[in-house]
């Protein structure tokens, strides 16, 4: 490990808390620690900072402050949204999601199947795009909620939220979107969109971990997940995470200013990184939809070598990225997103995701470009596979040994 600070290109996993965000949060740990529910001014005054944070966040996503509920995470927001939607539509027992949802939605939906719900998982094409006709024809009078992410964490793909929402609204079906990766990276005005419920998370936009929010459009019926005190208007019990809320508010204010930078500077950095790797390393391909992608994300498959080995090699150079390889996940199968796209296992195992932020620089991109060809060449020299010998000859091993039931 070198002594220079890391080149951090894993911002879809989490981001650094912005220095200004931290400054704004600090007084609320030790000086202004009052409970916003208290009658005395010491606590009650804190409530005004929560109101301010709510306004700032509402401003970022083009919503009204009373449509924002603070939660502890994106996952909590997803769970609250979907469980509220089915609780307030008790006669409906069907959910529609996509195969590429975050586990917070995917595993919740699969869990609900055990409670008697039917779940339709909409597939994606080779570029990770969903088929709107398939989505439309999956909607029934029994459908309680559709949950499709705004942007995918692994590929960065952006989904046609406005059109999906319109399809749902025509049918009188609630529409939830997990916008954890999208908020703060692309502009959005929820007041003009057919979105009923939206989840977001602080730590993806330079606020701390442990704070999230749920947008619930006015007039959408809502049932709380966490029952208890009257906090958040009775919609989410539990004493407020005041420093987190204040931090998310400040981060939202900063993000609103920086979205243009995401879509100019960050996009240019990402594009240069991607095109340089494609030009300097043979047998690589980009995963995702190049036309409709977050400006910060780039997912590249390196043929014939394995993702964890690439990540560890990058780590030696102080470069942080992530992979859809099985070996990095603790499971033994590669990313469900890449599998849903039909990316061959051979490419999925060698996939690397670089996700940038406004804190990255040209020098960061230079460093990755400088070391990447050498890493790839070293691992390829060690690999038994190559374009000339893509699998072992003594068995039909380009797919699963048993004929591919896992694909």
């Amino acid at each position: 490990m070198t002594n220079t600070p890391p080149v951090y290109m894993d911002n879809n996993a989490t981001t650094a808390v912005d220095a200004e965000v931290l400054q704004e949060m600090l007084p609320f740990f030790s000086e202004r620690y009052g409970n916003p529910s208290s009658i005395h001014n010491f606590g009650g005054g804190v409530g005004k900072k929560i109101d301010e944070a709510r306004c700032r966040l509402a401003g970022l996503i083009g919503a009204r402050p009373d449509e924002i509920i603070f939660t502890a995470s994106g996952s909590e927001s997803d769970n609250t949204a979907i469980r509220s939607a089915i609780a307030t539509n008790a006669d409906r027992r069907h959910l529609v999601i996509s195969k590429v949802e975050h586990p917070a939605v995917l595993n919740l939906a699969r869990h609900l199947v055990t409670g008697g719900f039917r779940v339709t998982e909409i597939g994606v094409d080779a570029m990770g795009r969903i088929d709107l006709d398939e989505l439309s024809s999956s909607l029934t009078d029994d459908t309680a909620v559709v949950s499709i992410m705004w942007a995918n964490n692994e590929t960065g793909n952006i989904y046609p939220i406005e059109r999906i929402g319109a399809l749902c609204r025509e049918r009188g079906i609630l529409f939830h979107t997990d916008a954890v990766q999208a908020v703060g990276r692309i502009p959005m005005r929820l007041s003009e969109l057919p979105v009923d419920l939206l989840s977001l998370s602080g730590h993806k936009l330079h606020a701390p971990k442990g704070i999230g929010a749920l947008y619930v459009r006015r007039a959408v019926r809502f049932e709380a997940l966490v029952i208890g005190g009257h906090q958040e208007g009775g919609r989410r019990a539990g004493t407020e995470n005041v420093p987190g809320i204040v931090g998310l508010g400040k981060a939202a204010e900063l993000a609103a200013e920086r979205i243009p930078i995401e879509n100019s500077m960050v996009r240019a950095l990402r594009d240069r990184l991607e095109s340089s790797i494609l030009a300097s390393c043979p047998d690589v391909s980009v995963n995702g939809d190049p036309e409709n992608r977050l400006p910060n994300t780039c997912n590249i498959s390196f043929g014939y070598i394995e993702g964890e080995a690439i990540l560890l090699s990058l780590d030696i150079h102080g470069i942080c990225a992530s992979s859809g390889s099985a070996c990095t996940s603790g499971s033994l199968e590669p990313s469900h997103v890449l599998r849903a796209m039909g990316v061959p296992f051979t490419s999925a195992h060698g996939s690397v995701r670089f996700s940038l932020s406004v804190q990255n620089s040209d020098a960061d991109v230079d460093r990755v470009i400088q070391v990447m060809p050498g890493i790839v060449a070293k691992l390829r020299a060690m690999s038994p596979f190559s374009p000339e010998a893509p699998y072992f000859q003594n068995a039909s091993q380009d797919t699963c040994p048993s004929g591919g039931s896992c694909s």
């Binding site: 014939y304 070598i305 394995e306 993702g307 964890e308 080995a309 560890l312 090699s313 780590d315 030696i316 390889s325 099985a326 070996c327 990095t328 603790g330 499971s331 033994l332 199968e333 590669p334 296992f345 051979t346 195992h349 020299a381 060690m382 690999s383 038994p384 596979f385 893509p390 699998y391 072992f392 003594n394 068995a395 091993q397 380009d398 797919t399 699963c400 040994p401 048993s402 004929g403 591919g404 039931s405 896992c406």
Partner: protein
């Protein structure tokens, strides 16, 4: 991030003996690219001594490090010495592996066993045969049973860590639990037996044969919709009839030899011959 030992990282960054070998005596391929790791082991064997070993590995850091130490271990060994190397030896050389990565050391050991079998002109080791339990990774019951015995495994997760079985779609996890149950019952019975004093009488041998068929062989066949009936025991000759889906199955003869006879020989008496009832 995995908590790798310094030794694993060192062998990953500076692998020994990586790359192709010109004119090897034997080459063994194990694993495959779809499953996420694969190893090609090259050995040069002269006068029964492994004079050179090289590898090519597709896989994570622990797979590459396991291959690297394996080649270091076997160099200079006789074929017989090398045959005694276990996956535990590889793990020890690496100062340990995270449990979820144990299958990397197992892969190294499999490549070595396969290379030595090829050199000796033998058939593949028993774990290559048997019934596929995990369809995602093509793992057989024999390989699972062997991992349970060799490493004293008690949970499905442990079996997954050592063999990968059950780590894909997860549909075979219940079946793996069943294999753990009967393998451990069998291990316990053997431990009890070995603490008892030989010699066995004919009657004891008969009782044992019945018990092994009931506790171990029948549950395994039933998972495939088959069954077995004990027809006769005469000395060390055991006559059985295969029932259910095993009856008339083309693999019946293989089942008799590899499953029934192999198990009875291993557990009860090496002299046992299994015949199918006419």
């Amino acid at each position: 991030m995995w908590d790798y030992s310094k030794k694993v990282l060192e062998h990953f960054l500076n692998p020994r003996n990586a790359g192709e070998m010109a004119e090897p005596t034997v080459v063994a391929d194990v694993g495959n690219i779809a499953c996420g790791d694969a190893l090609r082991l090259y050995l040069r064997i002269e006068d029964g001594i492994i004079t050179d070993a090289r590898f090519k590995t597709f896989g994570c850091a622990s797979a590459i490090a396991s291959s690297s130490v394996l080649t270091e271990l076997v160099k200079g060994m006789s074929v017989d010495e090398a045959a005694g190397i276990t996956d535990d030896d590889i793990v020890r050389e690496l100062d340990g592996l995270p449990e979820a990565k144990m299958h990397c050391s197992v892969m190294g050991c499999e490549a070595l066993a396969k290379a030595l079998a090829l050199y000796r002109g033998e058939k593949p080791a028993p774990e290559d045969s048997g019934r596929i339990v995990c369809r995602c990774f093509g793992i057989t019951d024999n390989k699972i049973i062997r991992a349970i015995r060799d490493h004293d495994l008690t949970t499905v997760d442990q079996v997954t860590h050592y063999t990968k079985a059950g780590g894909g779609c997860g549909k075979c996890r219940e079946e793996i639990a069943e294999i753990i149950r009967y393998t451990r019952a069998d291990m316990a019975a053997r431990a009890k037996r070995s603490s008892q004093s030989p010699p066995r009488t004919n009657l004891q041998r008969m009782q044992q044969i019945i018990q092994v068929i009931d506790d171990r062989i029948r549950p395994s066949l039933r998972l495939d919709g088959g069954d077995i009936e004990l027809v006769d025991i005469e000395g060390t000759t055991v006559t059985v009839a295969l029932r259910g889906r095993c009856a008339g199955c083309l693999a019946g003869a293989v089942t008799l030899r590899d499953v029934v006879q192999h198990t009875l020989r291993e557990v009860v008496d090496a002299a046992i011959e299994v015949k199918e009832a006419p």
